[in-house]
């Protein structure tokens, strides 16, 4: 009896010991609150690539169909207006303009770290296969429940010097239209540039801006048209206006802002007495189609310009680094 009791006690004790030593998975880990998430870029480079490829696939589908149907899924703003016009022209002429090409490879992407919406991603492509200049793509996400859409495409000028941005793994900070600490605010810069386009060298803001390829070309075109109109006693007038809220700003690492904005322009040409005002280019002609020409023709252009606005104390001028210009509507009045 005594032996049995001792055995029982020993067994109970050993079982207790086993339970204590077994059942060991370690301490339950506790979640740690990390603050780094707020500082991380909104997208990884892979995500940016995936988004861009989805956008391009939508555009390519539209290009092949020569129809703008379904483009609004992945395009918006001035880019959608321009592409719609380009596709309409392509439908009329049978081929897309070479300038509509968007290379698939990129040289740089600028991803913001901002947590709110809208968000903008700036991506610079490589040059095209036929050695056209690089494209600056601006993809916007308006809200959490919408996807990124291609909002603007600007063809960068040959030799244009872009500011430096933080590497995409770290992420850049988005600016606003009212950013201070710059030569002028981004919104003002766009408005002044519109004035400069309209008034040329006589603009009061001419000294704020460095000379650029876009303005040179526009001036040359305007002079050519002007000369022709003058021969026919006609007149021509262009008005440029910055479109409200169609602006995207990204802060560069040197303190300046890269600003992409839409500037609409209306080109009104009035022919001399007894004459009809005709479209001034193949694109306008394609858009005008079979319309009946009158003495007056009003052509609406959508312009996308990319401006670098330097910091206030840099002593630099505002520089246009890229632009796009496309007639979207041709009407005879």
């Amino acid at each position: 009896m005594k032996n049995q009791a001792a055995k029982m006690i020993a067994a109970i004790m050993s079982v207790g010991l086993l339970i204590g030593v077994a059942a060991c998975e370690g301490q339950v880990p506790k979640p740690t609150s990390s603050t780094s998430a707020q500082e991380s870029p909104d997208l990884t480079q892979d995500q940016e690539k995936a988004i861009r490829q989805q956008i391009l696939s939508v555009i390519n589908a539209a290009n092949e169909a020569k129809s703008a149907d379904g483009l609004d899924v992945r395009m918006t703003g001035p880019a959608l207006e321009i592409r719609t016009s380009e596709l309409a022209i392509a439908q009329a002429t049978g081929s897309l303009d070479a300038k509509t090409t968007i290379p698939e490879d990129i040289t740089q992407t600028v991803i913001p770290t901002d947590s709110g919406w809208p968000r903008s991603v700036f991506t610079i492509t490589t040059t095209t296969e036929d050695q056209q200049s690089k494209r600056l793509l601006v993809m916007n996400q308006d809200s959490a429940r919408s996807n990124y859409k291609l909002w603007a495409i600007a063809r960068l000028f040959q030799g244009a010097k872009l500011p430096k941005f933080a590497v995409p793994d770290h992420g850049s900070q988005m600016g606003t239209a009212d950013d201070t600490g710059l030569v002028v605010t981004p919104q003002q810069a766009v408005e002044q540039y519109a004035d400069l386009l309209q008034n040329g060298s006589s603009s009061q803001y001419a000294s704020n801006f460095a000379d650029d390829y876009f303005r040179q070309e526009l001036t040359t075109l305007t002079q050519t048209v002007q000369e022709g109109m003058e021969r026919n006693n006609g007149t021509q007038q262009q008005t440029f206006s910055a479109v409200k809220d169609q602006i995207a700003v990204m802060r560069s690492s040197d303190g300046g802002d890269l600003v992409v904005a839409q500037i609409n322009s209306e080109w009104t040409r009035q022919a001399g007495e007894g004459r009809e005002s005709q479209p001034a280019s193949d694109a306008e002609r394609a858009l005008f189609g079979d319309g009946t020409a009158t003495s007056t023709m009003k052509v609406t252009y959508v312009n996308v310009i990319a401006l670098y606005v330097p910091p206030a104390d840099s002593g630099q001028q505002i520089t246009a680094v890229g632009a796009e210009r496309q007639p979207v509507k041709v009407e005879a009045i």
Binding site: A22, D42, S115, R145
Partner: protein
Amino acid sequence: MTDVQEEHDKPSDTGRPSRHAMIMRGVVAPIFGLLAVASVIFGVLNATIWKPSSQITATTSVSGTQYVVTDPSVLTLVDTQATLTVQGQSGTQVCVAFGSSKDVTGWVAGYPYTRITGLSDWTTLSTEQASAQGTRESTDGAVDFQNSDMWSSVKCGTGSVSLSASEQDTDKLAIIDFGQSITTPATITLHWVRQTLPDFAMPLYFIGGLCVVLTILSASVFAMPPHKRRKRMVASEPVEVAEEVTVGQAVAGSLSGLRSAVKVRPKKRRRHARRADDGKKSRNGSAQNANETESEAPLVVDPSARNLVADQQHGESQGDDIHQTTVINTDELQAYFARLAQEMGDSQSSSGEDAESSTDAASLDDQDHQDHSEDMPEQEAQGDNDQMQNDHDSAAEEGGE
């Protein structure tokens, strides 16, 4: 323990280990040994059958909301290899996605949702009801959950869906969309595969090793007497020996000395008695009975026995020696008597008086023998050898009287 130490131990230990060594070797060392064995066994068990599972699966059940969102770092709480499985109502679509904290927050803005806040234990996920700040976006033109650009990975299924996280999703949140606010509870399971397991075996091996060392130490060094551990120099040995003698053996020696003094006396008595017998035979020619009974009587005469022997040995030149021995004997005998007095009681004091009184007696031996011879007839009259002790006592009483 070295051979030299053992050699040192043997003579001083007198062949038998001390109590300290017995406890150390018999109790403490086995306990440490058992602990060592137990530690190693538990270590092996922890490394094998009790090895912490690399598969951790935690489950919870949610209902009442359209969205379920994990807290930051919950998805990869145990390991980066995580799989989120949702078992919803069969026939309805359920989607799971991983996204950054700000994206998920933006998506659920204005909606109530269920938070998965962590592990309440190893098999249960803890949840909490929450409502996201912000205003609810109109669903017109909004993209479907699974088509959003924000998710790093997304998967939808009918009834149930499972999505695995990778190392890139360490700072991601998991968001579950049931399509509408669900009423039937859905089961959410997070499964991790642990790459690094907690190692409980190694500490136990370490403890086991320590116990082995302690076992050896307690059986050897700790079992040694403290002074041996401390002093191993040869020069200190004489001191040790002296100490041992004084402490241990002095008491035992004195006791045994006393004992032997008591025991030896009859022998001396007999030897003395034989000589006395010789004397008696020469005088009385009495029988052996007288010789045996004689041994009981001598207590009275006892203290002077040595002197008598010495006297007998140097009997021829008694005249010179007596004077010398007299001086020496006085001191020695006084001390001796003093000790005996404590041990033996009354009879000795009387014998001491006899001895003192007879110190100057040259024919002390003869007187003693005469005393003996005088006592003898009485004892012979009693005539019983077996009652020697009684006789002895009676003789002592008589002596005391």
